[in-house]
């Protein structure tokens, strides 16, 4: 007998994350949040606003500005039986904590012979907006390189909720990548039990002529490009949202290219040694004969992000770039 699921609600990604944090905190008293200004200030991007009032400052902990201690304390607390969710404010600040992420969180389970793990969620925010070189970065490909980590990046409220819930109930460290420009994006969110297991891409729309591979903020870009390609050029593009970078859904990539035979991968970080490189390498390893054209990468220009608006705009990949890449491939 099918259970009756509550009807999906429409909400923003910000609220989907907050609601999931709240729900899990209600469900499991071991869940604690920590990070800079997540309490009294309400969170830099207002994700945690209100939670300190609801759960108190012992469970919603403001920390000193000390990201390495934030991650280290979260990992240690996870070893000790809590279920911490750490917020790093922006991905850029993950660099001062990356030793804790890579040399500690990711290592513990295997290095000590699978005696214990570090069930910790590390939330961090990608994004830009005239924030200049040290505040506009993403390091998705870096994290995805590291065994022992899960790396996920939602592009819808439903996936934000489902991936975060999966992360919070799992047994290992999860890098949970949010995007500052996507918090207000709306969508339907299923009921409170909704889990999105890692390692499964999502077909955003099906198409016959080309696959646009995207994740996080580039998913809506790819969708917009697909609209334009259909309307203006009669090109039918499939859009695939990776959702998870580690594990990467190689099967979904291969499946899609078997149908479309052409791929454009869209990402926001610097082009060389980025996510697109892995997508490209994977596809030609696993589907060499299916590719009718080289996998194209649409990515950021290889420049420390400049503050000035026209320069920043020129640096970032845009919908035009996706359309142009597809047309270059198809013509």
């Amino acid at each position: 007998m099918a259970t009756l699921a509550a009807p999906p609600r429409t909400t923003t990604i910000r609220d989907a994350i907050r609601d999931t944090l709240r729900g899990e905190m209600q469900r499991d008293s071991r869940v604690v949040l920590l990070g800079e200004d997540i309490g009294a200030y309400g969170g830099s991007y207002a994700v945690t606003r209100g939670l300190v009032d609801e759960f108190g400052s012992d469970r919603v902990r403001d920390t000193p500005i000390a990201e390495s201690a934030i991650v280290g304390a979260a990992v240690g607390a996870a070893m000790g039986g809590l279920r911490p969710v750490a917020e790093l404010m922006t991905t850029n600040f993950a660099l001062v904590a990356i030793d804790q992420i890579v040399n500690h969180a990711a290592k513990l389970r295997h290095m000590f012979g699978d005696q214990f793990g570090a069930p910790v969620v590390i939330r961090m925010v990608n994004g830009w907006g005239q924030l200049a070189a040290t505040h506009s970065q993403s390091f998705d490909a870096w994290f995805a390189h590291v065994p022992g980590l899960h790396v996920v990046a939602p592009s819808t409220p439903a996936d934000a909720a489902g991936l975060l819930r999966n992360a919070m109930r799992g047994e290992d460290p999860v890098i949970f990548i949010e995007h500052s420009r996507q918090y207000s994006q709306k969508g339907a969110v299923p009921d409170d039990g909704h889990l999105v297991p890692f390692g499964k891409a999502r077909t955003v729309r099906s198409g016959r002529d080309v696959t646009l591979v995207a994740y996080s903020y580039t998913v809506p870009m790819a969708e917009a490009a697909a609209d334009r390609l259909a309307a203006e050029h009669g090109i039918d593009a499939e859009v695939l949202d990776l959702r998870s970078l580690r594990p990467l859904d190689r099967d979904a990539l291969v499946d899609s290219v078997r149908r479309t035979h052409r791929v454009v991968c869209v990402e926001e970080s610097w082009r060389s040694f980025g996510v697109g490189a892995e997508v490209s390498a994977t596809l030609q390893e696993l589907a060499f004969d299916e590719l009718d054209a080289p996998v194209q990468r649409v990515a950021a220009r290889e420049v420390p992000m400049p503050y000035s608006k026209p320069l920043e705009a020129a640096c970032l990949p845009g919908i035009d770039d996706i359309v142009a890449a597809v047309r270059a491939q198809i013509s």
Binding site: N92, Y307, K309
Partner: protein, 342 residues
Amino acid sequence: MVLALSPLTAAPNVVPAAVSDLDLWDMYRAMLRVRRFEELAGQHYAAGKVGGFLHLGIGEEAVCAGASSVLKPHDHLLTHYRDHGWALARGLEPDRCMAELFGKSTGVSGGRGGSMHFADASKRMWGGYAIVGGHLTLATGLAWAAKVQEPGTIACVVFGEGASNIGEFHEAANLAATWNLPILFLCENNGFGMGTRSARAAAVPDVARRAAAYGMPAWQVDGMDVRDVVAGTREALAFVRSGEGPAILEAHTYRFRGHSMADPELYRDKQEVEAMRSRDPVVNVATELRAIDTARVDAITAEVEAEMQAAVAFAEASPFPDVSTLEDGIVARPDGLTRGVR
């Protein structure tokens, strides 16, 4: 009141603030320039001309104005992202600073840096930095270079009390003390790191009291009183310049505005801010000077106003950087050879 803390025990001594030679008119002008620059920056942020993160130091002007007046032009200076006041007090042109905020090619950093990254290497203002604490170790390197190459030159590095809790502070302080480097760690303690009160982020919120962990002396001053700032900076700099090693100078101050323009200020009462306004360093000096010569105060005020309005006009009139220059100046040459070598 200046407190001097012993390098061994952190026990404080009151030091008389001997600044009878201080020209308060200069200080008024210096502080007002910063105040008006930032007020205009805030207005143009609201108008969409300035973007990104804008951190105003309104309320904290006595610190940059006072301390900068004691620094020598050959001293190295680095600051955190709350850098407008330090840049102006260092002698960077308001025109080019405002142009930087507008993202124009005439900006001090060519429009690449914006509010958080004002620099002028020709004035040894090595920039504002936006990774909390990151510039503290850079300063140790500059101090090291100075010690080797130009004895008598020191490095001054400005940071917030919030930054004193990150590992980089510890590493920088310990390296500076162990290597006996000529560096002044100048802490603008405005009581908050974003929305977190200092005592909620540090077990020992007075940064000066931590100096003893590095065998350094420290001075504490009232950062709302420019005389106090000058007096304390003189003491601390005399020590550092003598070659005896690094020191900490902590100025207790307060920011009247939010952390950045995006700050909803949920974490403090309006009354607290209002109460602190009675200590406004610019207003209070103006009041004191008006009692001496109102016309002169008005004249300075008008001059500063004209200068800052001209800066806005310059910024408005300047062109954006050409997009064709986007990839210039990332490395000198991709092959790693020195520029000019063929």
